[in-house]
């Protein structure tokens, strides 16, 4: 029997969705669990997964089309069956106004508000991944208690080891209720929980033997790195301070900024990276800790009234640390633009010397590799360097002692003990930690 696949409502605020990509085409066989398409909502991109087995008989929406929630995207059915009637019905209804017309009278509005059904309409596709956490422009990030579940549902989830944040609640306001858990249990956990491999079995890892006898002469960038790092590691008495930063609010704030939902502090919407936030946050922490924004020449410590922020950029066969001059005075947008430009030209080896020499502090970000933490080598004559590891989902404890799943980022500050003492470095990290917990107070 032919089944319609509709644009699902993937968040409370979603009114329409954009079909980014069809992963299956007309005539393709689909089975439950297959990713049919990728959909962009107001919050995030999500995969649409088939509920039913059959043939994808008809696609109604082109890639990059925006359609309202509930609009029919496709029909799945038996290869041989006729769907002419269904197609006619769907195509004629597409021209009609949206089903949820705005009621005009006050009475109708009240009735509609009160009567809003919380039972999701049956759709034949469901999101594979959970929707992005909803972002409240006032209170950003993942607040503890933001997830709503009935006590019974919470108890059942705990007993069966089901992460609540992976469930879309069917109760009012997205409340997760007993029926949602029953459904998961009856369908089998594996089918319903978000598949972190996104799309079932991961492709087999192909192992190519690339081993070879080669000899590369030490020259150019490699030579500079070899000399400077040997000198730095051998002559500078490094000590290392580590911290875990709670990034919940940065994650939420960035999501809000990038989705254009807020323009807090007059920040213009752009595709900001976490690195932009980290660079600006580091500047603020340096402003509070001038002893860390310093250089050391063996004779004296020179603190600087301006932050020239170096950040490490890797490229094939090397590494360069371009400098954002006067970074303390720049807006998030300026930092973003400057960093983007420097990274781009850095990777193509197009930087001029004054663009990579003479920084006052360095940030080395290897977050993209999923590391918990790492220990960097100071870039002399600077007196400290901050290693930034991945922002990861972690079990976290909120201020009230409740466990929740939050976002954490590991950092390590390496300091030159000739110039800085442990307490001074620790103070810098403490300030950075506090700053990252409330980006809305300083991002500009």
């Amino acid at each position: 029997m032919a089944v319609k696949i509709s644009m699902p409502k993937l968040s409370d605020t979603m009114k329409e969705g954009k079909l980014i990509k069809w992963h299956k085409q007309e005539g393709d066989e689909v089975k439950p669990g297959d990713v049919i398409a990728e959909v962009e909502t107001d919050k995030a991109n999500m995969d649409l997964e088939a509920f039913d087995k059959g043939t994808l008989l008809k696609l109604f929406v082109k890639e990059n089309d925006r359609v309202p929630v509930g609009a029919v995207l496709a029909i799945v059915g038996d290869r041989k069956e006729s769907i002419d009637d269904l197609v006619g019905e769907i195509e004629s209804s597409r021209d009609a106004p949206p089903v949820a017309a705005v009621p005009h009278t006050a009475q109708a509005t009240a009735a509609a508000t009160a009567a809003t059904p919380h039972i999701p309409a049956p759709v034949s596709a469901r999101p594979l991944a959970k929707p992005a956490p909803s972002v409240d422009p006032v209170r950003l990030g993942l607040a503890a208690g933001g997830l709503r579940a009935s006590p019974m549902a919470a108890k059942m989830a705990a007993e069966h080891g089901i992460p609540l944040e992976s469930i879309q609640g069917s109760g009012p306001g997205g409340r997760i209720v007993k029926n949602d858990i029953d459904l998961i249990l009856s369908q089998g956990l594996a089918q319903r929980l978000p598949d972190r491999r996104r799309g079932g079995t991961p492709p087999a890892i192909e192992i190519q033997n690339k081993l070879a006898e080669t000899l590369t002469p030490l020259e150019g960038v490699r030579k500079v790195i070899a000399e400077r790092m040997a000198l730095a590691k051998q002559s500078i008495p490094h000590f290392y301070l580590q911290a875990k930063l709670r990034m919940d609010r940065v994650v939420g704030f960035r999501m809000a900024l990038n989705s254009g939902q807020t323009s807090a502090g007059g920040v213009a919407p752009l595709s900001y990276s976490y690195n932009d936030f980290i660079l600006q946050g580091v500047c603020k922490a340096l402003m509070m800790n001038p002893g860390v924004n310093a250089t050391f020449d063996g004779i004296g410590v020179h603190t600087h009234a301006q932050i020239d922020l170096s950040f490490a950029v890797a490229f094939e066969g090397g590494l360069i640390t371009p400098v954002i001059r006067g970074c303390d005075a720049l807006s998030l947008r300026d930092i973003h633009m400057a960093a983007e430009d420097l990274v781009d030209r850095g990777r193509r080896m197009k930087l001029k010397p004054e663009e990579y020499l003479g920084g006052s502090f360095t940030v080395s970000n290897l977050g993209m590799f999923g590391l918990d933490n790492f220990q960097p080598i100071i870039n002399p004559p600077q007196v400290a360097i901050l290693a930034v590891a991945a922002i990861q989902r972690q079990p976290c404890v909120d201020d009230e002692g409740h466990l929740y799943v939050g976002w954490e980022m590991g950092v390590t500050l390496a300091c030159d003990h000739r110039a800085i003492d442990g307490a001074a470095g620790a103070r810098f990290l403490k300030d950075l930690t506090a700053l990252m917990e409330q980006p809305e107070s300083w991002v500009q």
């Binding site: 009935s150 006590p151 019974m152 549902a153 069917s170 009012p172 209720v177």
Partner: protein, 335 residues
């Protein structure tokens, strides 16, 4: 087992207890010569005489007070109130004397006394004759409050109430008097005054009701079953003390509850049930507990309005569906 009417089951209980214990006597308006306003005391005068089946003047405060004194002196009076609406003129005797004398006398005196009669709305008797006052009685320490719902439990409970050494408020319903049902023959058939019973087993939602509302709850459960919802129905029976165990056992199974009561919502029986459940079974709650009560108005005389303000099978079904998130609040008023 024999099939008999509700009123006959009560009559049998009175007859048996009058025969069993010479200290038992019946007093009330029209209970003797007229055989009772609802014929519950039919034939008792002829059998036991004027000393033990006493016609009282229209003075509830007088004969309720007399009964309290008689109970203190060692008798076991059974007071018939023509309707519990009339207990209001004797409320001092019931709440202040019957309920408190055992306590005030340091346990020296007991008040083995039963106040019985119909309670709640009947049909177009107007606001002052349609009271359901169980919340007031159940509110008061010192009283036991029982609501019977079938001929079987009417008989077993009334006999237990008469034999109990404390004052019992025994609530009947005029609309149940003609209900027929099987009643055990055993003259020692007694039911505990502090226990509810499972009237129908289910797993999806617990409907708690008592007295005539039990029958609406059972009808609602029948209709819910047709849409695949298996409701458990509890016949509460004891309103004070309330049977916590049966409520909590059922709720821990179903995780959803609807309470149905004869009276108004505020400070009602259902409010106390909600209190018990949220306190002792918080982790088992899946939805707010729904209550079906009288609307907050004096009982209208107008028949349509009288029906509208009462609990109904439709209202109970709606409430049950709401606890299952199958329906939202608005649809109730749309009915």
């Amino acid at each position: 087992m024999a099939e008999m009417e509700f009123r006959k089951a009560l009559n049998l209980a009175l007859d048996e207890e009058l025969a069993r214990d010479p200290d038992v006597f019946v007093i009330g308006e029209e209970v003797a010569e007229y055989d009772g306003a609802y014929k519950v005391t039919k034939g008792l005068l002829a059998k036991y005489g004027h000393e033990r089946v006493v016609d009282a003047p229209i003075s509830e405060s007088g004969f309720c007070g007399l009964a309290v004194g008689a109970a203190m002196a060692g008798l076991r009076p059974v007071v018939e109130l023509m309707t519990f609406s009339f207990s209001l003129v004797a409320i001092d005797q019931i709440l202040n004397n019957a309920a408190k004398i055992r306590y005030m006398s340091g346990g020296a005196m007991r008040v083995p006394l039963t106040f019985r009669g119909p309670s709640g709305v009947v049909h177009q008797l107007g606001a002052t004759h349609s009271n359901a006052l169980e919340s007031i009685f159940a509110h008061t320490p010192g009283l036991k409050v029982v609501a019977c719902s079938t001929p079987e439990n009417a008989r077993g409970l009334l006999k237990s109430a008469i034999r109990d050494d404390d004052p019992v408020v025994f609530l009947e319903s005029e609309l149940l008097y003609a209900l027929k049902g099987e009643v055990p023959d055993d003259p020692e058939f007694l039911l505990p005054l502090h226990k509810g019973r499972i009237a129908r087993e289910g797993v999806d939602v617990t409907i708690v009701a008592y007295s005539k509302r039990l029958h609406q709850a059972l009808d609602a459960a029948d209709r819910l079953a047709r849409e695949g919802i298996r409701a458990e129905v509890i016949d509460l029976i004891s309103l004070r003390p309330i049977d916590q165990d049966i409520l909590l056992r059922s709720f821990r199974k179903t995780n959803r509850m609807v309470t149905v009561e004869e009276s108004w919502s505020f400070c009602g029986i259902g409010a106390s049930i909600v209190d018990i459940v949220q306190r002792h079974a918080f982790d088992f709650m899946d939805a707010p507990i729904e209550r079906v009560t009288l609307e907050e108005v004096p009982m209208p005389y107008n028949e349509s309005l009288e029906n509208f303000v009462q609990p109904s099978v439709d209202k109970i079904i709606s409430a049950a569906r709401r606890t299952l998130y199958l329906e939202s609040e608005a649809s109730l008023h749309g009915r």
